[in-house]
Symmetry: C2
Subunit: 162 residues, 2 copies
């Protein structure tokens, strides 16, 4: 049985306890940008309830152009005013270089991607770069209330970087 069948089956139980009636704009007025890593559960980590916060996730939790698109929509149209960034230890993005991954893709696809894989060699440095990308982005309204953290996937603890 494909995994997706298992997930769909579980979703039928979820509907029974789902808290409906929450508003579209996030109640806590916060947007979280986090890595896609399977060991990172933003709802659990931050004690979120349904309706509390926007959660944006990608490989690395990097503030990419698409993350900035999402944040612009979050702030301009849905009223969020704070941003929380979460990278984590043992991240896959630390295990390769952009050049090496482009070579892997070139071999597999017969062409190199036009986009950057966005790998990084140091968590704290990338968090600081992500904060800098937010502070300098003209399409965001609230650029000061941004904090960057590293989540430890072994201890479950959060460490503030910037």
């Amino acid at each position: 049985m494909p995994t997706s069948d298992t997930l769909v089956h579980r979703s039928t139980e979820y509907a029974e306890r789902y808290p409906s009636g929450r508003a579209l704009p996030p109640k806590l007025k916060v947007a979280i940008v986090a890595c896609m890593d399977a060991r990172l559960d933003p709802f659990g980590l931050f004690g979120l309830e349904v309706g509390d916060a926007h959660v944006i996730r990608n490989a690395g939790g990097v503030v990419t152009e698409d993350a900035l698109r999402s944040l612009a929509i979050s702030q301009h149209l849905l009223g969020t005013t704070e941003i929380v960034l979460v990278h984590h230890t043992d991240c896959g993005m630390l295990t390769f270089t952009d050049d090496a991954f482009r070579a892997t893709l070139a071999k597999s696809a017969g062409q190199r991607p036009t986009w950057s894989p966005e790998s990084f060699g140091d968590l704290d440095t990338d968090i600081r770069q992500s904060v800098a990308r937010i502070r300098s982005n003209p399409f965001l309204i609230h650029r000061d209330a941004v904090r960057g953290f590293v989540f430890d996937v072994h201890s479950g603890e959060l460490r503030e970087v910037s």
Copy 2:
């Protein structure tokens, strides 16, 4: 007190019950692409445990270039083989047009963005487009096992589209 202080405070309690020792590659070999909407909790909806699945999220749950970057890393480096897409009812992306949002940003920032806001007028149509973007992307290895759903934010139910 800023919201981020509340979230950081809650995270200290999370560490006590965090299940450490889970591997970097997602146990269920699945990557989920979902909207950032605050009423969508992929862990709750799909009964995920820490370590089970990659979760990629952005405004709309659209398969953008950055989502494809994340999926390429997920499949090539971390072994996922299935993709589950989740849009949802009452989505903010249905409430504006790209042209209108570009005009809003131009007024606020003094310049228009070079990126597409990726708004859409119909959930099912956008799910089908997102599936098509995956099936035609040369940088993914597993392009057949992809399913698209719409989550009902009022009932908590999931409906398969494609």
